[in-house]
Symmetry: C2
């Protein structure tokens, strides 16, 4: 039975890395003492080692050891033998490119579908959806495909941002961007605000955290969903 | 001798579509009474006809007729015979996908390099650079390549946005995104604020408008460039 925590962000304003979600992670990774960390998204361009160090510090309080997937001689074997997987945020294009280049898409799918817990933040959450076509990131590298894991039957827009009132900037709002997505694609898009996450247990998907999330369906007016909304049937 | 106007935006806050740049366009398109409009970027998902209508209204004061490229039976011939080209903003991924799908990349390169004036706004400016890897847009469709026209030897970031002071949002700032780009790419990136444009005449490239632009070079601290700065040697 697959189990995922799909978080909008690793960090909320004013708190340390992962701090806001630690109580949830403690339950989620109960009985797991080591996880494989996928640092490919390299936020700010940091190295795999630097990023793995950051993730390790985040998990220190839970006494969970974090090992970067780049530290393994055979990354596919590392995924197959993982007790838990954490994919960190950063640039979704580089993350997806590396997942394809290292041939990890299918191994991670298989591992997660057999019940190994998967935790994602930001870009690591984008890839749990059907495609990465609703990422906010800059296309700094060209991945071989925009298709992602599809652990859920819709797309995530992490760090969902409401229009800034009184803004004079003429760039598109997040809502406009997602509505443009729906001119070319049918998949629902869930705008997850920072501090929200999805809890996936088997076929059950529930919105968690204290905030509402914004759901975009093709050709419909967007709607606000309260926390604890059941999204199992969304597709 | 190639001639381009590469504008950050079509519209500045509080003014009508193209209004702020009309005096410049009048000089730029002097002697031209009809231009071919490329509406592929479809802002907000509007149709080609709707977008062409908008562009026509923008050029009405200059008595320049605007014809959408989709109205021609043979789009490649339309480019070859164009007296001027205007590529409008919207979604850069869809724009680039269509430019490749319709096999227009090489014809437009040839036409512009032989001296037909090219005006771009936003996404239409992104594509004048080496690649579209510094667009702000959402990857709603998968283009066959991120390579673009390369009329200038660097990349544009249109709608350049300074960090919002006091923001509690944890998503990356524009500057962070461009610095991530430089972890994987060497090309200079010019952050063009709304109301700025580049004037290209042959090998000469000059920053125009009233604002400064922000120049990002790999492994260097970003710098502010004053209007009228000569960028001809930037590469």
């Amino acid at each position: 039975m697959k189990r995922l925590l799909i978080a909008s962000t690793s960090t909320v304003h004013g708190k340390a890395y992962l701090e806001y979600i630690l109580p949830e992670l403690e339950l989620f990774f109960k009985g797991v003492n080591e996880i494989v960390f996928i640092p490919f998204a390299r936020p700010g361009g940091m190295t795999y080692d630097e990023y793995t160090e950051r993730a390790s510090l985040g998990f220190k309080k839970l006494k969970i050891r974090v090992k970067g997937i780049h530290e393994y001689e055979n990354q596919i074997e590392a995924v197959k033998n993982a007790k838990g997987i954490f994919t960190g945020g950063g640039n979704t294009f580089e993350l997806v490119k590396q997942l394809y280049d290292q041939k990890l898409i299918e191994p991670i799918k298989t591992t997660v579908n057999k019940g190994i817990p998967y935790f994602g933040t930001s870009a690591g959450s984008n890839v749990t959806g059907l495609t990465m076509k609703t990422t906010n990131d800059m296309p700094i590298v060209y991945p071989p495909s925009f298709d992602t894991f599809g652990f859920i039957n819709f797309n995530i827009n992490p760090h969902y941002l409401d229009p800034i009132e009184g803004s004079t900037h003429m760039g598109e709002t997040r809502e406009t961007r997602i509505q443009e997505f729906h001119k070319f694609n049918a998949a629902p898009v869930l705008g997850l605000r920072e501090g929200s996450w999805l809890e996936v247990v088997g076929a059950k998907i529930v919105l968690r955290g204290t905030l509402q999330a914004r759901l975009f369906l093709k050709d419909k007016t967007p709607i606000e969903l309260d926390t604890n909304t059941d999204l199992s049937d969304l597709k």
